[in-house]
Symmetry: C2
Subunit: 231 residues, 2 copies
């Protein structure tokens, strides 16, 4: 915790671009697969294909972390994994709290693959007495009232909101008051939080609506083409 790093690399001033940060976990996953497959080294082309991105983009992304490749050879899988994991904060385990023990909260608690990514579900909270005391994937559901205790007990910085939309803002307010600084919001609601708090939103229904838009476009362009042929 008391690493001295007086002269951190110059580019760290404003950090890594958001778009790059969003891809680093994908690269990490691809590297894990390569390592499982026995590969100890790989080129930007191979890794880019496994991650589904353009090789130039991959190299530029990695260049924000430093120069960990070898020209003419490629990247050492283990070394690169280490550096990406470190940049993402995976040298420690992050305890998170999930608020809402409904279907989605249950699914999240049971999600395999958190452990390997440095994420631990420390607690699940709910207001419904019928759910409190039940167990989800080995974690007991606790009353929402205990939020402050839980945040303190596990030094929690990251919370997941998996409540109905109506409850989400109140939950977010309570999370912020308790000291949480990052929120992953699954509720269909736009959360208002202080700008010191990071929010990411995932809305299942929105994702499908976006796909429906593309389907509709396809349908109407086919129709237009038909008309052209017919006309």
């Amino acid at each position: 915790m008391t690493l001295l790093r007086t002269s951190r690399p110059a580019r760290a001033d404003r950090g890594i671009p958001d778009a790059t940060v969003a891809r680093l976990p994908v690269y990490l996953g691809a590297l894990a697969e390569l390592a499982d497959g026995g590969r100890s080294t790989c080129s930007s082309g191979e890794l880019a294909e496994a991650a589904g991105v353009n090789p130039a983009k991959l190299r530029k992304d990695l260049s924000y972390l430093g120069s960990y490749g070898t020209r003419g050879v490629g990247y050492d899988v283990a070394v690169l994994r280490h550096h990406i994991a470190r940049e993402l904060g995976q040298t420690q385990t992050w305890d998170v709290v999930i608020v809402g023990a409904g279907h989605l909260g249950s699914a999240l608690s049971a999600y395999h693959g958190f452990d390997a990514r440095g994420i631990n579900v420390a607690a699940v909270l709910d207001t419904d007495p019928a759910r409190i005391g039940t167990e989800l994937a080995g974690v007991a559901v606790r009353p929402f009232d205990e939020l402050e205790d839980v945040v303190e007990e596990f030094a929690i910085a990251i919370a997941v909101v998996a409540t109905p939309g109506e409850a989400a803002q109140d939950v977010a307010d309570a999370l912020v008051a308790a000291g949480v600084t990052s929120i992953l919001n699954f509720a269909p609601a736009v959360l208002q939080v202080p700008e010191t708090v990071t929010v990411r939103k995932v809305d299942l229904s929105i994702e499908l609506q976006i796909l429906a838009y593309h389907e509709q476009r396809r349908a109407s362009s086919v129709e237009a083409a038909d008309e052209e042929v017919a006309g």
Copy 2:
């Protein structure tokens, strides 16, 4: 289905920008709330706040759909809802198939709020005999083998992949072969599909890793500030 639209607005040539399409469902949700609250009209400022975006961005987004506001007044809530819903293809109901009846598949089947957005879960498929025949939110889980029948029966264009990562690519291949052209992928895997197919990916673990990155940055900048004070 046989709407004639010979001269669609000129900008439709290349369609609406992706970034805008991704926000339209958010605007639609905000408009629904305003309508529920009895509002019949609203300004770009109000709507922008409810949607959590900059007002200029909102106006530019809406301008891609046409000029449906009134200068000096604002937008008619009902009119705007209509036009956005139409653009997103919500004049019809989209039947979707969910592949994978595990925790996530169950949560998705039970998700309220699809109906109001023109989404209907027509079928849930799984390969596990223990799950086949069980019922999820009123829909029977059917064998994965029946994919082609289901796609044909409901004229399905959109599918949701909620399987483990290992199965995802095989499932995607089968979906594409069956004629599905849009896939929402929840599995932790990068899907390879023909470029005629649209894929969107949601990875729960990736979202948390991104938040962990921000937390780590916060932690190390606090540390750096401490050093500065101490030094």
